[in-house]
């Protein structure tokens, strides 16, 4: 993030890795929505940044003009190998129909309501044991000691890999997403994931288990086994998409409660509000921005988009659009009308949304049960990561 020069006009030269934008993008979106609702920048190739709900959701639904073949917010600027190990990227997120359709159908049942309910008890136990680790200290890093530790272990259980490697997984995922502007680090993260899953795939060839990775490996589609590069890409996707997204949502929600004592007290006093609060916190602090690539020249909302241009699917800004949400910049824990698109919109709706919602709800319930009173540790700094996924990375809090 240090490599970037300051932005003077966000409408023509935005930078999603700008330090101030990462920490607090909300005023910038409000300003853009008024005077230039689809901003443009050439900083990392020609890229558009819509900020209105209407535009973001329209682009998400137009899969003919806006392809998912490039979903990375920060383009990879290292050397592309001639024969990539993942020629299809990470399907289904990086695929268009028809590849998208059947790879997604393989995944979805693993994240159904019923399946996800089966992971709730382990998630609750995990949260509880994490809190045991710091409860007596009167202080904790709510991001690093708590939020960051939860989704990676649940995803490991679903994939069927050992959660003793949780820190290693988290490191790779951060290299790929959070440090994407460092080509070496990013490539290293991808390689780490690939090598790991190649070995795990070998273990499951003759001895499949009851896990997502075994299912992918032994599935047949139209009478043929699934290509190894697709198994690899999909497994890597589940880990990459299932870890720092939800960890960021948990972290942002705890940041909100640490800095808004009235909301914190209300949620403690009225636990029945939790399902609505979860949706509202997802709306207000949506962690994920995906990208699309323009397939052929098109004029969209008066913007001359060229084939190859990138669009940043600014779901977080769409969810703050005052045209759609009353008091858009205010967290209203019991908001009744909430068509937020934190999990996207259209055919790429987050496949793990049921899981993410359960994890966020359980993480907040357990935290508030054990740590009902807490606030920021004033002497310590809160740090934020941004780009593809926004959320706090250090969140020091104290509690009586």
């Amino acid at each position: 993030m240090a490599r970037t020069s300051p932005v003077t006009d966000w409408s023509v030269d935005f930078d999603v890795l700008d330090h101030d934008y990462v920490a607090d993008p909300f005023d910038i979106w409000d300003d853009l929505r008024h005077r230039c609702p689809i901003a443009h920048s050439d900083r990392r190739g020609s890229t558009w940044l819509p900020t209105r709900y209407e535009d973001v959701t329209a682009i998400a639904h137009d899969v003919e003009h806006f392809s998912s073949l490039e979903v990375a917010v920060i383009p990879f600027d290292g050397e592309e190998p001639e024969e990539p190990i993942l020629p299809y990227g990470l399907p289904p997120i990086s695929a268009d129909p028809p590849l998208h359709t059947w790879t997604r159908r393989l995944l979805l049942p693993w994240f159904s309501h019923t399946r996800v309910a089966g992971y709730e008890a382990m998630t609750r136990e995990l949260c509880s044991s994490l809190i045991d680790g710091f409860a007596a200290r009167g202080r904790a890093d709510a991001a690093a000691d708590y939020a960051q530790q939860i989704p990676v272990r649940v995803i490991a259980a679903i994939l069927g890999v050992s959660d003793s490697h949780a820190d290693m997984f988290t490191g790779w995922v951060r290299d790929v997403l959070e440090f994407a502007d460092d080509p070496e680090r990013r490539a290293g993260g991808v390689q780490g994931l690939i090598n790991y899953f190649l070995e795990e795939i070998e273990h499951r060839r003759d001895r499949p288990g009851d896990d997502l990775l075994s299912m992918l490996l032994h599935s047949e589609v139209d009478g043929a086994p699934v290509e190894q590069s697709l198994v690899l890409g999909t497994a890597a996707l589940v880990l990459i998409a299932g870890v720092d997204t939800t960890w960021s949502a948990i972290g942002s929600s705890l940041w909100h409660l640490a800095t808004h004592p009235d909301d914190r007290k209300r949620l403690v006093a009225e636990p029945d509000l939790m399902p609505f609060a979860v949706e509202e916190l997802l709306r207000a602090y949506s962690p994920v921005t995906m990208a699309r690539v323009v397939t052929h020249d098109v004029e969209f909302a008066h913007c001359p988009m060229k084939a190859g241009d990138k669009i940043l699917m600014n779901f977080p800004a769409a969810n703050r659009d005052p045209e759609v949400f009353e008091d858009a910049d205010k967290v209203v824990l019991d908001r009744a009308v909430n068509r937020h698109v934190a999990f996207g919109s259209g055919i790429h709706r987050c496949a793990g949304s049921n899981l993410a919602r359960m994890e966020l709800r359980v993480a907040l319930e357990q935290w508030l049960r054990r740590v009902p009173e807490f606030h920021l540790d004033e002497g310590q700094e809160v740090t934020w990561a941004g780009g593809q996924v926004r959320g706090p990375r250090l969140l020091p809090v104290v509690f009586p």
Binding site: R105, P275, R339, R357
Partner: protein, 70 residues
Amino acid sequence: MRITVDPLKCQGHARCFALVPELFVVDDYGMSSVKGDGTVAPALEDRALLAIANCPEFAIEEIAGEDPPG
């Protein structure tokens, strides 16, 4: 009151099922549909409207002109 889910618009967010499981069913792929013929008991009408107001795909609709007499 009677409601319906447009299967071409539904993308499996499952907000309706989470809010009013009495009225909706969701399959293994997350796709939602109404239970029975979509008739909403008077006691559930407020929550049916809540489901409509929380569907990010605008996939749930009230079928017009079917209000019971009175």
